[in-house]
C-alpha cells in the first residue's frame, strides 16, 4: 500500500490522456527533443514489450527494428517530454506473457504477433 499523501502528490503530475496500453500493442510515441533553442518532435514507432512501475514512475519499453537493428527505448509515460502516445495496432495482441522479452531473439516472420479483432 502506498501512502495516500504520496499518491496525492503524484496525482498532480499524472497525465489524464494516456490511452489504455497493453503489452504487444504497436505504439507511436511522440517525444519532444531540444536542439539548442529549437524544439521538435520525434516519433518512435514500435512494439510495447513491457510496462513497469506505478504513478509518476510508470515506464514502458518500446522496441522497433531500425535498418535491421533492434532498438529499444524506455519512456516515462507521464513525463512532459512525451507529447503523445498512440496505439496504432487494431485489437489486442495474442500474448501469454506480461513481458515480451522473447521477441528480442526472434527475427522476421517469427517476430510477428497476431492481433484479435477490435472490440466494437
Amino acid at each position: 500500500m502506498r501512502n495516500k499523501l504520496i499518491l496525492a502528490v503524484e496525482e498532480l503530475y499524472l497525465k489524464s490522456d494516456i490511452p489504455e496500453l497493453h503489452v504487444g500493442d504497436t505504439l507511436s510515441v511522440s517525444v519532444k527533443i531540444k536542439e539548442g533553442t529549437k524544439e521538435r518532435t520525434q516519433k518512435f514507432d514500435g512494439v510495447l514489450l513491457a510496462k513497469r512501475g506505478t504513478g509518476t514512475n510508470s515506464t514502458i519499453t518500446v522496441r522497433k527494428i531500425s535498418s535491421g537493428i533492434g532498438v529499444e527505448r524506455n519512456f516515462l509515460i507521464h513525463s512532459p517530454q512525451i507529447e503523445s502516445i498512440k496505439v496504432t495496432s487494431s485489437g489486442r495482441a495474442k500474448v501469454r506473457r506480461a513481458k515480451l522479452y522473447y521477441l528480442r531473439k526472434l527475427q522476421g516472420k517469427k517476430a510477428r504477433l497476431t492481433y484479435s479483432m477490435p472490440i466494437k
Binding site: N3, L5, I6
Partner: protein, 231 residues
C-alpha cells in the same frame, strides 16, 4: 534562525519544468505552533520553542510536559523544538501563533537544510563501520573479520581512546544541506517536496530550515537557480 518540524512521508518522483524526472522526498509540515518564548533577561538566551504534532491521548505525555503546554494553552504536542533567534525576531512572534511555512522557508525554489536521525545500521563490525579491510579467508587463518590487535602491552597498559572498534553505527543526527524545496497544500495538509533523499525512517521527525550554507555556497546556489538568501 527559525525552522519547522515536519514528518518524513516517503519518496517519489515528479517532473520539473523541462520534463526531467526529479527524485523528491515528501515532507508533511506539522502544526508548528509557538509554545514558549525564552528571553535574555529570564533565561539567559533568546529562543522560540515550537510544537510539532499533537499526541492522540493525554496519557502519552508526562505530567510535567502537560503542565508546560497548559501554560501556553497549546495542544498536547509530542515533540518540542527550540530555535535560537535574535531579539527582534523574538518580538515579532506571539505565543500560540502557528508558523507560516512560506514565510519561514521562502517561495518555491529556495534552498533548505533538513536535519533528522538516520535509520542506523545497529551493531556493526569494523569493516562496515570504519571501512577497514578483511583478512584472508583461506590459507589456514582463523581471523577473518575480527579487529586484530587493540594496542601495545604493558606500555601504555590500556586501550587508547578513539580506537576504531565494532559498535553501534550511523545513528547520529545528520543534516542534508542545500536541498531545493517546493511547498504545496494537499487535502488540507501542508506538504514540502524536497529534491533528494532525507535520512530517517518513514514517519520520522525532521527539522527544515533555510539553508545555513547559502552565504558560503552562493555560487552553487546560483547554479541550482532561483535560490534566495534570507536572514
Amino acid at each position: 534562525m527559525l525552522g519547522l518540524l515536519a514528518k518524513k512521508v516517503g519518496m517519489t518522483q515528479v517532473f520539473d519544468a523541462e520534463g526531467n524526472g526529479v527524485p523528491v522526498t515528501v515532507l508533511e509540515i506539522l502544526e508548528n505552533a509557538i509554545t514558549e518564548k525564552r528571553n535574555q533577561k529570564e533565561h539567559g538566551y533568546n529562543a522560540i520553542q515550537i510544537g510539532g504534532e499533537a499526541a492522540a491521548k493525554e496519557s502519552k505525555l508526562t505530567k510535567p510536559e502537560i503542565g508546560h503546554l497548559k501554560k501556553s494553552n497549546s495542544p498536547l504536542f509530542r515533540t518540542l523544538k527550540e530555535f535560537r533567534v535574535s531579539a527582534e525576531l523574538l518580538e515579532k512572534y506571539e505565543v500560540g501563533q502557528a508558523l507560516d511555512a512560506g514565510e519561514i522557508l521562502g517561495e518555491e525554489g529556495s534552498l533548505v537544510d533538513v536535519t533528522s536521525r538516520p535509520i542506523g545500521r545497529g551493531t556493526s563490525g569494523r569493516i562496515q563501520r570504519w571501512n577497514q579491510h578483511r583478512r584472508t579467508m583461506t590459507h589456514g587463518t582463523k581471523h577473518h573479520r575480527q579487529i586484530g590487535s587493540a594496542g601495545a602491552g604493558t606500555t601504555p597498559g590500556r586501550v587508547l581512546k578513539g580506537l576504531h572498534m565494532p559498535g553501534r553505527d550511523n545513528n547520529l543526527r545528520t543534516t542534508s544541506h542545500l536541498m531545493l524545496v517546493k511547498l504545496m497544500e494537499i487535502e488540507g495538509k501542508k506538504v514540502a517536496l524536497v529534491k533528494g533523499s532525507v535520512s530517517g525512517y518513514k514517519g520520522c521527525m525532521v527539522v527544515v530550515q533555510v539553508s545555513k550554507k547559502l552565504g558560503t555556497w552562493n555560487k552553487l546556489a546560483f547554479d541550482l537557480g532561483k535560490a534566495v538568501k534570507r536572514d
